[in-house]
Symmetry: C2
Subunit: 229 residues, 2 copies
């Protein structure tokens, strides 16, 4: 095996790099030129050593005794994340969310232009949303080819999400942003990121309940004077 393929960045670090990038963009906007791992750690709410290790996966771009240069690091993170080019997005499912994504202009300037939107409902096909016309999901493969689509966003109903994903994968798309509350069956060569508010709320619920119980216990203990340390 030719070992020239780029050193892999640990998954956990990959999920943090976009957060760092966000913060650095803010620093840049406020004319900050340099930062230390301590400063970034405080802003990102993580440990400073973790910041340094994460940044070290990009290469040795800091200066000891000084810190990191904002603009240079922004460039390096973008390079590593593949943000020096654009990745075209197609939205599958022209419901409320799908149309909102198509209309929302916030992704194009960040390198993820929404170049198409499709649906399987004849009533929706042909309608205009933002600057796009809803296409027929049956033309998805052609659309992916012609518009060089790299990422598919699933905003269909739960019932049709799996077939939507199958169509995308058939068309050669290997990155999926899934908004349907369902676990998609995909080959391991495909990346899937799930956005599910229900799941997030339930996770919050767990920790909220933990805290609530903790408090109850404390109250009872106080009342009955059984506190022990």
């Amino acid at each position: 095996m030719t070992q020239l393929q780029r050193r892999r960045i640990p998954d956990a670090a990959v999920t943090r790099l976009p957060v760092y990038l966000q913060i650095l963009n803010n620093l840049h906007a406020t004319n900050v030129l340099r930062f230390s791992s301590d400063e970034l750690a405080a802003l990102a709410g993580v440990n400073a050593a973790k910041v340094r290790k994460d940044l070290s996966y990009l290469g040795s771009y800091g200066t000891r005794g000084v810190g990191y240069e904002v603009t240079y690091l922004i460039h390096q993170i973008k390079r590593e994340l593949g943000l020096l080019r654009e990745w075209n997005v197609v939205v599958v499912g022209a419901g409320n969310l799908g149309c909102a994504l198509a209309k929302f202009g916030g992704f194009a300037p960040r390198g993820f232009p929404v170049v198409g939107i499709v649906d399987n409902d004849p009533k929706k096909i042909g309608q205009t949303t933002g600057s796009l016309t809803v296409g027929d999901v049956r033309n998805l493969a052609k659309m992916v080819r012609d518009l060089k689509v790299a990422i598919g966003a699933i905003t269909t109903s739960t019932a049709t999400a799996q077939s939507a994903v199958d169509a995308l994968i058939d068309a050669g798309v290997t990155s999926i942003l899934n908004f349907a509350p369902i676990v998609l069956a995909t080959p391991s060569s495909v990346s899937v990121r799930n956005v599910d508010l229900g799941v997030e709320l339930q996770i919050l619920s767990y920790y909220e309940q933990m805290r609530t119980e903790q408090t109850e216990v404390a109250k009872i203990q106080t009342k009955s004077s059984t506190v022990s340390v």
Copy 2:
């Protein structure tokens, strides 16, 4: 220290329980009565041993040689996640997303009723969205108290997100669902879940670029006949 407080479930397992719950609800809807860890693992796209370990944190509710009962497990997961009661949600920020969340009726039946929405813009205050009237953010504390709010959803602009969170925390809210693309500063006693599509897209971008490079390398290697295994 009185060690009666419930055994902690590992964070990684907590994030998977809602996914299992989703799947079990589907099984229940299709009249499936029992399932094995193998079956659930296949549906959730994870390892069967992991499923068993995750479920074992709830207690020993399986039957060896048989499997788990769907309805019973649903109940146990709900209990553990704190889903046997309702958690009221207040939305802070009455923009597109905030109003959509307020209108969207999908959370109430799942135990997370949106009981209020507030903004700081006088033009928005007083407007109606769904069955709710946009309130003044300055009345947030009273609202949290009167309506027994447990979770706050931040859908403000990035610029006002931190002050929105500060207000929520002052009002006693300890669970935050944040949609603003910013890292919120919060005490460690507060749970925050971030939903940021930009971050998700950038993570997809990284892996997509990896695959692209891999392919390029393979092509070059094939052309120049330097393939080595």
